[in-house]
Amino acid sequence: MGSIDLENLTIKKTHDHLVRGDFSARELGSACLKRAEEKNQETNAFLEIFEDVIEAGDEADARIREKKKDTPLLLGIPLAIKDNILIKGRVVSCASKILSSYKASYDATAIQKLKQAGAVFLGRTNMDEFAMGSSTENSAFGLTKNPRDVRRVPGGSSGGSAAAVSGNLALAALGSDTGGSIRQPASLTGIIGLKPTYGAVSRSGLIALASSLDQIGPLTKTIADARLLFSAIRGHDPNDSTSLPNAKNDSDKKPRTVGVPRTFLAQGCDPDVLKCFEATLTQLKNRGYEIRDLNLPNLPYSLAVYYIIQPAEASTNLARFDGIRYGLSAPAPDIAGVYAKTRGIGFGREVRRRILIGTFVLSSGYADAYYRKARAVRELIRADFDHAFKSVDAIVMPTTPSPAFMFGAKSDPLAMYAEDIFATSANLAGVPAISVPSGRAERDGIALPVGFQIIAPHGGEGTLFAIGEDVENLAL
């Protein structure tokens, strides 16, 4: 075996090496493990690294030997998994003290599918507690650092998954995206991040943040890998009541027209991020795309709508953590005391804040003005997208208003929430969106990656990959 060059390997390239016998899955697992253990000291991308990834490689090697030609692309590929996705028998903590030693009693459907495809698991990655945050600073188990500049956050909430892939600790990862939690960290660490169409990937076995918004999706180094991982985990699942029927053949129609909500973008976006975005647009135009200005009148309300619906759903979903059936339990003289004390100790500050907001917007006397109103505006946003997609194949925006920021820079909750300004609308409308690195913005002498976001109609992942590949090839 020559040395395994993890910095330059993608899933596809690795698969070719494995089939050719350049190295075995066992050797690959052991190389990944060694690098992950070393590099994790710097970035803390993983909360736990699975040492049995080496033995798991043996099974993959046996399968490769059995049938050389017909081996699934994910066979023997070590993946990093966000700490809110269940792998049977492993701890899954949501980076929260309330679940710090909780062991999953079953596999998430996405994990089941990956296991069937022969993928192996390298570890579980750090995140903002219960996926609430945009910097991974809200983890109960320490900060994760951005491999592009360790003084800066990797984004969040899937910050550990993004740092693992960006730092070449893992070939690819799964994250979850409720309001940008895959795309924003992908953007801040310079990789690809896909939020699929709502219902495309089963939510069974994903610990819920906000059930009407959550989706599992891939974080990868290339569009080809994102496509591959998405194909492996998608599909109808009777265990998820909002799972979509299996997609018919994806359209291979080449997208031609992209729309830009320019007036919306002018709000609060760093000038050099906007410049990167415009440069990408110019290049796409040179490649034959038609660029159209669009007006989605309700888009400016998406962040406010999101920060009503998401805490409302979170406060209901998190009611199950009460110290009775699983997780932490704080002793108290009576049962009401057990509930309140367990939750008070077990949940971190941001989680408590959002539970209170959610409780407020759902409470008697306020539910009409906040929660029900937000649902109505959500429908208007969805209608804006439907209308826009009549005239364009995709809508494009920057993924985030600024590149990776310093630790502690956004201690004001509203400043942190504003990080999601361009991301939440796709979750509210249920449409798929992807972040692709395009251009750089310099901060303190370091050229930091900037993400270009593409949003397509429901079921339009094929469009995202087609445009994404063009952006990838611009190599800006």
Binding site: K103, S105, Y198, G199, S212, P238, S241, T242, S243, N298, Y301, A304, V305, Y307, I308, S315, A319, D322, G323, I324, R325, Y326, G327, L328, S329, D334, I335, A336, V338, Y339, A340, K341, R343, G344, I345, F347, R349, R352, R353, I355, L356, I357, T359, F360, V361, S363, A369, Y370, K373, A374, R375, A376, V377, E379, L380, A383, P413, L414, Y417, G430
Partner: protein, 92 residues
Amino acid sequence: MDSRELEKLKMLARLSIADEELQMLQKDLGAILEYISKIREVRTDVGALLMDEHRNVFREDEGPHETGIYTKILLQEAPNHEGSYVKVKKIL
């Protein structure tokens, strides 16, 4: 949001919160509520809104699993149990 309201929310959410944190929370929640209140500007009384084309799809209520096959693995995660029951403090 005044402190009486905050106390009520704490109770509704079954959350114990230290007094020194309450003050800061009051300030944060105030700012967040002010921000999210901007949705009031939007007119939602125009035309019929298509609310929620998504609906839950339930499976048929049939084919139950064999009683007890998941009991052990689930009880292992319960903080307190006795036999095959989760043990709780008295409710009344």
